[in-house]
């Protein structure tokens, strides 16, 4: 079972690489914001699968709950920047 979770982790890592292309290369700022939000969702799953590989899931569930609750504060703070200025 451990090797199956390990291969799922590596596959998720390659999907994160695909999202990272849009973070690095995105012509506008909003592209980067949405791509970072998508990476945050994949990070959650990756953390729980690491917990399964180590054998103690209950410790890693706490970290995942923090990310699930607080993931959107960064996006909110960045859009506040555009509010009065337009897309400059």
């Amino acid at each position: 079972m451990n090797t199956f979770f390990l291969y799922v982790n590596i596959f998720l890592g390659f999907l994160i690489l695909a999202c990272l292309y849009r973070v690095v290369m995105g012509p506008t700022t909003i592209d980067r914001m949405i791509a970072v939000s998508a990476i945050g969702t994949k990070t959650l799953i990756l953390l729980i699968l690491i917990g399964f590989i180590f054998g103690r899931v209950e410790m890693f569930v706490d970290i995942c709950t923090v990310y699930a609750l607080l993931n959107f504060l960064g996006t909110l703070a960045t859009t506040k920047f555009f509010e009065g200025r337009g897309k400059c």
């Binding site: 706490d62 607080l70 909110l76 509010e83 009065g84």
Partner: protein
């Protein structure tokens, strides 16, 4: 610019739903610091995140009405006072600084229970101090300054 009110119905409704859950989760992290990852500092930062969410969604006036700058300074000092107070209490009762076993004399419980209660008290103090300090840092960097007090000048001052 971060102080303008973000007059969007979706953001304000989501903020109203999420803030109680974030605060209860922060209290859970503080209380279970000895067993699962977390503790005083992490719980304090999550409490600050809940206040920052109100600050972003409703503006600086709404969050200042709940905890103003003076109350933040008082809370930070109260957190440090709880931490140092528990340490000094153990010192006065005849042990070392932060030697929780001495608390069993005034609380009347067994020694392992006194140690557990001492650790819980110290974590609460740390969480309170961290929340107030980070909240005041956010208000200083990302908020508009408080109105400076104007010195009163005499009316009859005429320039020649």
């Amino acid at each position: 610019m971060l102080t303008t009110v973000y007059e969007n119905l979706i953001v304000q409704t989501v903020c109203r739903i999420m803030v109680p859950f974030i605060q209860i989760y922060a209290l859970y992290v503080i209380a279970h610091g000895h067993y699962s990852p977390g503790g005083g500092f992490q719980g304090g930062v999550i409490l600050t995140a809940s206040l920052a969410l109100i600050f972003l969604a409703f503006g600086q006036g709404a969050v200042t009405r709940r905890i103003n700058r003076r109350l933040a300074v008082i809370l930070a000092s109260a957190g440090v006072f709880i931490y140092a107070g528990i340490g000094l209490l153990c010192l006065l009762l005849g042990g070392n600084f932060l030697d929780y076993a001495q608390l069993a004399k005034i609380l009347g419980v067994t020694i392992p229970r006194a140690r557990s209660l001492g650790i819980l008290g110290v974590e609460v103090g740390v969480g309170l101090a961290v929340m107030a300090a980070m909240y005041s840092i956010i208000l200083d960097i990302a908020g508009s300054p408080a109105k400076p007090e104007t010195k009163s000048r005499p009316i009859s001052e005429n320039k020649p």
